[in-house]
Assembly symmetry: D2
Homo-oligomer: 338 residues x 4
């Protein structure tokens, strides 16, 4: 029963099969492989964006960092939620890739910024040469709190962004779509998003993320920044193969829907237990339950793996993440152990 | 007949099998996987360096960049051959990761520095606060010219380095060992090398390079720099699996020996042709033949893929690279077409 | 009546005289001038630190930035008050010079951190490779709120810093000493401070700040960072002359005492007016009065120059700064106009 | 007899007088002083460029670094002479301010690039994503070898620059104009130069350089980069005062003409001595004589100060720099001692 993170899962069988198939023979390197041409078409179709520039990298941190660096000057501010992944979990990669931009932290309940919480931070930034300037806005969906922005909420935020470039950190983009029923286009450019980190790794790939840039004028700069970061793969076909299979026949949405369904089952089970509450609404594949002290010991005895969270006195808290490979049996055994 | 680069090859079957095996079940992420513990032991054994810090990344550029950044301050000079990969083929990644160090270019025939060519560049660097300071030395083996340093030549260079840290760019390290018969230890720390980029990608992996740091005191800084560069894989087991299989039962050396043997066969065949010469000695798996004008057209008609090189009037030149997957049939067909 | 900032004042006559004297004849450049040798002795004596490395630069921003860069790695956190000059008024210079460190903002009333407000920010930083690491602490005295830390308060903060390097931003260091009666040593190394930005510009110089580093082992790195930032003056004697005259016979403390006395006179006058309050305690040479709406217009009509501040409805607020050149007449005329 | 550098001289009396005058009363800070408005007009008139953006900084290194950073991306190449000041004497400041651009070194006799020496370096740069891209060209006039480009030579270089931005490092701009009789406009924008470091420090100021940017669209970015580098002076009037007096009534050209005349007198005297040769043509205020071994000792005994240079066996070499304050007596005494 592994609920530590969706990155503790392996890769989906379809992805492994595609990788094996891509291994046959020789292929052009550094992204000139035939599979990448196919991926480009698939991503443009998925996003209904026939002109979009699309690229592959291997980690979510670099997908985000390159997007930030592409849209924020070194003397700019990146507006993000105060607990965003870019702010807390990337060891300063955004500052590194932007050459020193400042993350301007925006508060908000349940991991979400709102136009109201964004406005004052925007307003007080960039008023003279003495401070950093307004740079760009980055929004995470699914959030670090496991909550989900609807397209309308995204649109409200980008409308409040005063014309700044807006990025969507979609490390769990598929889960956000599965949760809302929105299309990729509705969740992004139709809602004012300029570029997207489109995650594959956590949702059944080995290690691949796409970057989708709706204005292709920034494409060449992206390529140079990627290369310079050491993120251009020579045997690029192995990235292409993962992404191509991931997008084939809706696999990506099926995997995410399954993960979300397992979280819903788990959430329902948790809610049925006396003394168990959820710190954040359960909307995708991450849950933050709180339960009576002593529960951790019982669960660990049953070999349940997850992360502890800080909790009030007399209580314990946890983060539980489901994935494409979570089974109903995993969920039910966890609930029993609880 | 693909001779464009060893990175046009796929992955060796043993590597693909290991990847598939590693996919079973759940694993801890970010390098805490059990397979990585195994890789650590394997690499320490391979290098006879029981204390070495060892890490995995996915590209050669980042292996090199992190090694340079770890040993050269922003105001330092990286001493390297004027045609080194770090100087010409990484789009400024060394400057990016070191935060602005300067590459001090050292001349030398056939892609090799010598103590004599290194000395004057060293001497004129770092004489006052007005210039950049002596930083570190990086040596490529196999060189970009396809030549190979012996351990004695490496030792002579590191002895001439005035105590500076010395790095070995071993993107084709296995080919260099196969060519010289040296052990990994003889080619590195026994010859004064402090840290190594140990290549896997070009020699039968999908995308994995090890960094071996003989003084483990720099280990934590390496981990932070890797994370901050966006190069710490969440599903790290897929890097571990490649490297573990690569090192298992000497696979890495068998693959490189095969590539070198194919280059030797090709070289012998080329030398037997009238009007064909080699610009650099054939010592590993890269050849630089020059032939009469008109030959390119004949070879391309026969579907031979390789890179053109600049040549004197009336002549044509090429770079031919063999790999673990080159067959004697490939070689012989190429020679026939020629 | 100029109360906009102490940097709206000119230079004290003694400083101008010294500059003129320093202009005679030839002098060695880049800090090798004889006057700099004298300054070194004066600063070491002033700080009772016979081994300290001391350097001159021309602006406060660079003094701070170099101190931060010297003690915080690119992947580190600089702990500072949320309204510190380094956080709000230097356009990202700290991020630029540190190559991307993150400013970790510490709350605190009246511009001052306390061990209690620092502790939780420290504790939540640097817990794994995924976040930035604990770097260093920087304390501003006089604070941006015009308040003053006592040596005991500084010592309490440095004791709470968990062994991190501690920097004092002393752009108004003389005013802090004048306010507390502490010696330079008591306010710095005796209270756990490792390096100091020792301001001259705001207190009667044209443009000079000293950096005092109590551990001279970092001296050479400082020199390289200063040069690389473009901050090593060729005609360095003109920096030395200012600092030498500034330290001569206690001029620096006399000038600051005068500025503080003018602020005290102004503060007393303000407090005597009905409806006038001070947002922060008046402790040095900066005051933050709040007064009834309509007052601004009256003061501006009387040609009083100062900065407006945000205020509650029905009220107005200002920042008033006195300097070495403020006269009692300036103060009294301001109070009359009010 | 000081011939070490023009920066060993003090400031011209007119400059000191202006500084004293500027000290009266209060002034707006950070470049909003009235004197700066005057400087802006003076510089625009001097360059016949009514729209140019003009700024002041205190050192030549920062004037150059900001100009390079303004026109070269982090992944770009700065094309410069192999012995340019930016390449050899700024401790990596160009790499620091550009965030890691690479200096592409162009050979050329007597410190000068030519279209012929520039072309191959340009051509081999920026051919794919694997290398750095063509960034900008920087030309030094007066060169480090003491030679001078004519406007026609500058124009030939900028014409060969393939449309890249072109910068003129004019640390000794006045000497170059005095040597050629060209106007400021002829030497710069009329010859294809986009932005200029206009030196004051070496030619009679205390420490001030102007940056002149002919396309004002980059003005705001320049201001942010200057601030972020810690180079925006609070008491900016003291920079303005120097530059204003420097430009007043042709002072800058008179001072440079005098320095050049002293060098001509010295050069003529040197040429008249048996066994003395000049390594580079004497065209402005820097000479590179070579003389018989043993001469250094004689000159040092006569208290002549200058820098030694490398020389062939049996010979000695020197660099001699004259300035606005060199007297005919200095020159004649030096020649006698020789």
């Amino acid at each position: 029963m592994w609920f530590t993170s969706d990155n503790a899962s392996g890769a989906a069988p379809e992805i492994m099969t595609a990788l094996q198939a891509a291994n046959a023979g020789y292929a052009r390197s550094y992204g000139a492989d035939d599979l990448m041409a196919q991926v480009t078409t698939q991503l443009r179709n998925t996003f209904e964006a026939p002109e979009a520039a699309v690229y592959l990298v291997a980690t979510g941190t670099i997908a985000n960092s390159l997007c930030l660096a592409l849209t924020c000057p070194p003397w700019g501010a990146v507006f993000c939620h105060e607990h965003a992944h870019v702010a807390e979990d990337e060891c300063g990669a955004p500052e590194f890739y932007t050459h020193g931009a400042k993350l301007a932290l925006v508060p908000g309940d349940h991991g979400k910024m709102t136009p109201e919480t964004l406005a004052p931070v925007l307003t007080r930034t960039g008023t003279s040469v003495h401070g950093v300037q307004k740079g760009m806005v980055t929004i995470t969906n699914v959030t670090e709190a496991g909550t989900v922005y609807t397209p309308a909420e995204i649109a409200a935020l980008t409308a409040a962004a005063q014309g700044l470039p807006c990025h969507l950190d979609g490390a769990r983009f598929a889960n956000a779509l599965a949760a809302t029923g929105a299309t990729a286009a509705e969740m992004t450019w139709k809602a004012g998003i300029d570029l997207v980190s489109f995650g594959g790794t956590k949702n059944g790939c080995l290690g691949v993320e796409a970057v989708v840039i709706f204005d292709p004028a920034k494409a060449w700069e992206f390529e140079l920044r990627r290369k310079r970061g050491g993120h251009l793969f020579s045997k690029h076909r192995f990235l292409s193969a993962q992404m191509s299979a991931y997008l084939q026949d809706g696999l990506w949405l099926r995997l995410a829907s399954h993960a979300n369904a397992m979280a819903a089952r788990l959430s329902a089970g948790l809610m049925a237990k006396p003394g168990v509450t959820l710190t954040h609404p359960a909307q995708a594949n991450i849950l933050f339950p709180e339960w009576p002290a002593g529960t951790h010991a019982r669960l660990q005895a049953a070999a349940a793996a997850y992360y502890d969270m800080p909790a009030p006195k007399g209580r314990e808290a946890a983060r539980l993440v489901t994935s494409w490979s979570t089974t109903t049996d995993d969920v039910d055994r966890f609930l029993s152990a609880l």
